[in-house]
């Protein structure tokens, strides 16, 4: 199951943070912000030192998964520089389709809403509801 979802904007700021697993330790909002900034940094470093050629055409050359003993962190970077991060249990090996779906939901319910300002935290009930639906399916 998916434990939590984060969305990081182009400059490394956290714009969405939601926890779906109540049985594990919760991240405070400060810690979440620090996590977003740190991850943004190491993602940039990883894409710089990647030994593969840059001619793959995609901009998603940074970190894709981080494995630990208890959970796995998946990351998907869009061509516009927004990162979608999901922390899941070890059963999920690839979450690219789900993260792409989350990107679609973001485009629909955040970008098409006139009350959302770009690069700001996402505050949309419909986005929360649809994301909850998606997370419950995984």
């Amino acid at each position: 199951m998916i434990h939590s979802v984060f969305i990081i904007n182009r400059s490394g700021g956290l714009i969405y943070n939601k926890n779906y697993n109540t049985h594990i330790a919760q991240l405070s909002s400060n810690e979440a912000l620090i996590f977003a900034g740190t991850f943004h940094g190491i993602h940039a470093l990883a894409s710089r030192i990647a030994p593969t050629a840059k001619a793959t055409g995609t901009k998603d050359t940074g970190i894709q998964t981080i494995d630990t003993k208890n959970f796995r962190l998946h990351c998907f970077q869009t061509p516009t520089g927004i990162k979608f991060i999901a922390a899941t249990d070890l059963l999920h090996t690839r979450l690219a389709e789900a993260l792409t779906r989350i990107y679609e939901l973001y485009c629909d319910y955040a970008l098409k809403s006139p009350f959302y300002n770009l690069e700001m935290p996402v505050r949309s009930d419909m986005f929360d509801a649809k994301l909850l639906q998606l997370v419950q399916q995984h």
């Binding site: 629909d108 319910y109 970008l111 098409k112 809403s113 006139p114 009350f115 959302y116 505050r123 949309s124 009930d125 419909m126 986005f127 509801a129």
Partner: protein
């Protein structure tokens, strides 16, 4: 001499017609409905979001915002009315209240949103109020209104369309839109029409005349 000139002119005309076949000039498109007449919802959603943001920068309150969107909708409504009347090839324009409402519910909604409106009701408290309900208006489904503006209904645009159509059908009304969420339909919008007093009096006279 004249024939070569003519040929030149003809070839130039040929070039011109080639261009205007692919021309995207709006007023040169045929009026009859074509299969490629649909616009992508995403494109319209972005345009509509920008319309709301644009008007938000120029007004001072929620009421003003709804009024401005209503005005934008009125401009659309007049043109939609003309277009649907000519496409339907109907002989008469509806001038009675109930017929006009049925026309809006079916023809106009289908022309704009590709589906008929979900219900048409008459209010039980006031005789001059009617309600058109749309369970999930496509153009509004991506908009999440923040809690500080909870009374704002982006359906003001749709109510503007309905208001101008009601004026075109000689039944002027004050039209407002309200969001009435129901089970599984968080964006259910109700368009409330409050007809003018003379319209209701005229309807009463016509009913009385008919029943005689």
């Amino acid at each position: 001499m004249a024939s070569s000139q003519q040929q030149q002119v003809q070839s130039m005309l040929k070039l011109d017609t080639k261009q205007s076949k692919r021309s995207t000039l709006l007023l040169e498109q045929p009026v009859t409905r074509q299969r490629r007449d649909k616009v992508s919802l995403s494109a319209f959603a972005f345009l509509f979001a920008e319309m709301i943001r644009y008007t938000q920068n120029r007004v001072l309150g929620i009421q003003d915002l709804e009024t401005k969107l209503n005005e934008l909708g009125q401009r659309v409504g007049v043109r939609v009315f003309e277009l649907t009347m000519s496409r339907e090839k109907t002989v008469r324009r509806e001038t009675r209240v109930l017929q006009m409402l049925v026309y809006i519910n079916s023809v106009v909604w289908r022309a704009l949103f590709d589906k008929p409106a979900d219900s048409l009701e008459r209010s039980t408290e006031n005789e001059d109020e009617y309600m058109i309900t749309d369970n999930e208006p496509d153009i509004l489904k991506y908009i999440s209104v923040p809690k500080e503006m909870a009374s704002f209904s982006p359906g003001a645009f749709i109510s503007g369309i309905v208001e101008s159509i009601s004026v075109c059908c000689q039944c002027p009304a004050r039209v407002t839109s309200h969001v009435v969420p129901a089970e599984g339909m968080p964006v259910r919008t109700v368009i409330l029409l409050k007809f003018d007093k003379d319209v209701m009096e005229r309807e009463k006279r016509l009913e009385a005349g008919k029943s005689k």
